[in-house]
Amino acid sequence: MRKGLLSGLLVGLLATQAYAANSIKLAITGPFSGGSAPMGASMRDGAKLAIAEINAAGGVKVGGTMMKFDIIERDDEAKNERGALIAQELASMSGLAGVIGTVNTGVCMAGDKHLQQKGITKIITPAAGSDSMTQWIKAKVKDLSIFRFAAHDGIQAAMVVEEAINRKYTKVAMLYDATNYGVSGRDDMLEQIKKQGNKLQVVVSEKFNIGDKDMTAQLLRAKNGGAQAVLIWGIGPELAAVANGMAKIGLKVPLIGGWTLSMSNFIDNAGKNGNGTLMPQTFIEEPISPKAKSFIAAYHKAYKVQRIASPVSAAQGYDAVYIFAAAVKQAQTTDTKKIKLALENLQEPVHGVIATWKKPFSAWNPADVTSHEAFRREQAVMGMVKDGKVVFGNDADRKRLIKNATSVAGKK
């Protein structure tokens, strides 16, 4: 019977793949294909780079034996449905130490609950909107196995708004894409404007769809409203269409927005129209410290590229693996629940490429998401597009990071 055969296969497909017994099974998930692929794939490649380094050095010492990392890669295609199924798959895997990954908020919303149910440790990186963490506060969970390793939208929105205020603007236009990311970014920015004393007047608040190429309507409204800056939240090539559209209608004001403005598909397509665009960054592809220098060189060499598609994602993926490895070392086991406890109370600082992480997470506080958030305002800097590259937007940031790197002591 064909159906019998297929259902037999169904069982066969699920048979656990053979992995070395003495290994740390770490799953990396994210969109490796589709529109969010630059972020997902850069994160994966950064993480794999860290794993290769750790494995090359013999692995992590657990209970007297050196254990290497085994990677389980899953492409969620930025689809919620796939995300849910992958999470279910991971949740039912035996001996899984943890999960790193995810870009899209929807994928977190659909999938993470399966991991949380089984208490599997997950570090969300490089992105995901605020809902991916605040959902746990709403659900009033007492104990959470999900961590986030990303400059969350709250920090970024705060920086964007702060930048506009520092530049003495009073009227801004707000543009955002019609995805979860864009809409929650808008909400975060509005909240920050309120928090920072209502110094900005939002003259227009406009949406654009994924795939839109003509932004004339939105931009004309911004221009007619007298906007002094365009605050923007979106992913991908539409951002470039906005920059180009601004040049076309002669709206000569700065574009300030989320960290995705550092992605190659914005920088390349906007060309010179992108110059001067500002965005918060956790990592700038500039060899300001020995650690950063070796990371950038190793990445370029390993993946045969001249420029990282999304440096932030790559660096976060890289650091997340090192933090995870430190937790394994401290827990002295690959039991995911013990790793979670270790993560909440990391004793030794982790020297990452973004910063030196000292106690990045603490025990879950059901009233405060930041207990499971690694990034604080200090780890983020303002980046600026300049002639096809992202450079430091404020020289003060650059100096601060260099100083931190040399003094080695990261601040919390």
Partner: protein, 657 residues
């Protein structure tokens, strides 16, 4: 009988038990997730198959109905604390109503326009779900908590069994529906919408009903989808999902419940299949060998066009090459879908299950159920009282196409109980005249009285419902249906069953009666022993007879026969005369368009001769034959000395005259 029961019902039962038992045997939440999704997609695809398979239309809106159903269920649970059953019922209802609303305008369209209308509908509903933020939360997504079922909280196992149960119910209901008059009507309208209307079955209403039904299942599946994932975003329900759904239906096999099920398995498993390289290589190799074997054999036996044999081989060959050379197969996902779909659509149009069914039916031959014994013809065609009064009266009837006056002021009376001949050279307006009477064309002027009252005009279906039935000059059989089904479907108006009873499968008695009646009619035209033959496989003459049997199955008072003898061999013509007389004997009034003068002379009580859209003669056949105007019309001027018209004068024209 027993074998049949075991093989068909038994397998279905076993499959249900097997799938229900999996979670008891294996404790694996991933497996459970896949199985739940499988059940949901199976429901969705069964719905899609109604339009894509049975109605034969490319429907690109099913993903939208999934989304509408999902949001309906989710919002009702969130905002009004609906329970599981009531929320699902509402989701189904929304699917049904929205499907109906879309179907009203869209189903007047055919082929590409229909596909475009459904495509636009999908895009529009995604836009609305995304933009109506106050209701749907837009792109932020909607979080839902799975509601209790009759006060009972369902865990993931319980929910899976619930989905499986619903799939079982949907399966049985659809099976009952598709093997009833409804299913036959769906297939009939796909093969010939014109004949479906002319047989009083109603193309439009069945299309709308079928589409709405399929959409309702989409809505139901959407509700389950919402409760399965407990999180919804509008961008999920878009074009890409639609293409995958089409892949499932086409690959699994259209017009086939098992096909929808296999399609659902494929959809659910494909991502895993692709991520496991080894498995993918094996599968593509099997596919290639299948294409090579099936295509090669068909080519060798010259059963197929070269393209149909070779193209799938190339496509599957590409897949095999790709499976070994491409770095990351998941990146090529869409291309892999495309190659598989291409091969199946070209080389295996009936899909995997259609193919398997053919194969299995050879392996386990199941004897078809024996027929009911034919009814008495006199009971099927109850003798109607005739009194020779005027049944059909045409007054100054006109039908113009632009400047062409196809029918130009014809007044004519057909007396009840008679056989009225209508002859004339090609282009004289005979077929146009009956096309106007039967409602295919609207008259430009004049009036038609039937039973002394004005007859509805310009609508085949309405005219058919008045008791007028017809055959077609160019055959309009339901080609995919068997001879018996062709006749039975025309009895739809006669044996009506309420839809709920049909869905529950409680209409067996009616079916048996219809079958017996249809057999009697097939016997009348000499096709009783070919009742199971698909009508497209019947010889030409038999097809003509079958059309007559089908037209009579409507139990009309008035029958239009449009060149029934065209192309018939001599023995068949003799048989035809007998059949027409037999029908007339039951009191059915007949209008007969014919070129064969001997047929007309042997049958007709009165003959009307048309030329250039006008009547040039009328009377008994013998008088008309000698009328110089008629001779001139047929043979041209200067042939007064010619003998009366006796021969078949011209081949029938391919276009309506």
């Amino acid at each position: 009988m027993l074998k049949r029961f075991i093989l068909i019902r038994g397998i279905e039962g076993l499959m249900v038990l097997f799938f229900a038992a999996i979670p008891l045997m294996v404790d694996n939440s991933f497996m459970l997730g896949l199985l739940t999704l499988l059940a949901i997609y199976a429901i969705l695809l069964i719905g899609l198959d109604v339009t894509v398979g049975y109605l034969g239309q490319v429907n690109l809106a099913q993903a939208a109905f999934l989304g509408l159903g999902a949001y309906t269920a989710g919002l009702l649970v969130n905002n009004f604390e609906f329970g599981m059953v009531s929320a699902l019922a509402a989701a189904t209802l929304v699917g049904l109503v929205m499907g109906g609303l879309l179907a009203f305008p869209a189903l007047r369209l055919e082929g590409p326009q229909f596909a475009l209308a459904t495509l636009s509908f999908s895009a529009l509903s995604a836009t609305i779900l995304n933009e109506w933020e106050s209701l749907t939360q837009g792109a932020l997504g909607l979080q839902i908590v799975r509601p209790p079922l009759f006060g009972m909280a369902l865990d993931s196992k319980g929910f899976y069994w619930f989905c499986l149960l619903l799939l079982g119910l949907v399966w049985m209901a659809m099976k009952n529906l598709l093997f009833s008059q409804w299913g036959r009507a769906f297939e009939a309208l796909r093969d010939s919408p014109i004949a479906t209307d002319a047989m009083g079955i109603g193309t439009y209403r069945h299309k709308v009903a079928g589409f709405a039904l399929g959409s309702a299942l989409g809505g139901l599946a959407g509700g389950l989808y919402a409760f399965n994932f407990e999180y919804l975003q509008p961008h999920v329900f878009v074009y890409e999902l639609m293409v995958i759904l089409l892949l499932g239906v086409v690959l699994g096999g259209r017009k086939n419940l098992w096909g929808a099920f296999v399609g659902a398995i494929l959809i659910v498993l494909l991502p895993n299949l692709l991520s496991n390289r080894m498995l993918f290589q094996i599968f593509s190799a099997i596919g290639f060998l299948l294409a090579l074997g099936a295509g090669g054999l068909a080519l060798y036996q010259k059963r197929t066009r070269p393209f149909q044999g070779i193209a799938p081989m190339i496509a599957m060959g590409l897949l095999v090459v790709g499976s070994f050379t491409v770095q990351n197969t998941e990146d090529w996902r869409k291309a892999i879908f495309a190659l598989m779909l291409f091969s199946v659509v070209v080389g295996l149009p009936e899909g995997l299950m259609g193919f398997a069914a053919r194969f299995l039916s050879k392996l386990f031959s199941i004897d078809p159920l024996p027929f009911a014994s034919p009814s008495d013809l006199d009971q099927v065609l109850v003798k109607q009282e005739v009194d020779g009064s005027p049944l059909l009266q045409l007054q100054e009837l006109k039908c113009y196409f632009g400047g062409v006056k196809a029918v130009d002021g014809v007044s004519l009376t057909v007396a009840s109980g008679t056989i009225h001949g209508l002859i004339g050279p090609n282009g004289s307006g005979k077929s146009t005249l009956v096309n106007v009477v039967s409602g295919l064309y609207s008259p430009t002027g004049g009036s038609i009285l039937f039973h002394g009252k004005p007859l509805v005009q310009g609508n085949l279906f309405d005219v058919a419902r008045q008791g007028i039935s017809r055959t077609f000059q160019n055959l309009q059989l339901f080609t995919e249906l068997s001879a018996l089904d062709n006749v039975m479907v025309a009895m739809k108006g006669w044996y009506r069953s309420p839809l709920p009873l049909v869905l529950m499968g409680l209409t067996g008695k009616n079916e048996k009666q219809a079958e017996a009646d249809a057999l009697a009619l097939l016997e009348m035209v000499g096709l009783a022993n070919q009742a199971r033959t698909p009508s497209k496989d019947l010889p030409y003459g038999a097809q003509r007879f079958l059309e007559i049997a089908r037209a009579v199955a409507r139990r009309p008072t008035f029958l239009i026969l449009d060149e029934p003898a065209a192309g018939l061999a001599h023995p068949d013509v003799t048989a035809l005369l007998g059949i027409i007389r037999r029908i007339n004997k039951q009191g059915i009034t007949i209008i007969l368009i014919e070129h064969h003068m001997d047929v007309v002379a042997g049958l007709c009580d009165t003959v009307t001769v048309l030329d250039g859209g006008k009547i040039i003669a009328e009377g008994k056949p013998d008088e008309v034959k000698r009328n110089p105007l008629v001779i001139e019309a047929y043979l041209g001027k200067g042939s007064e000395s010619a003998s009366p018209v006796t021969v078949c004068l011209a081949t029938p024209s391919p276009v309506p005259a």
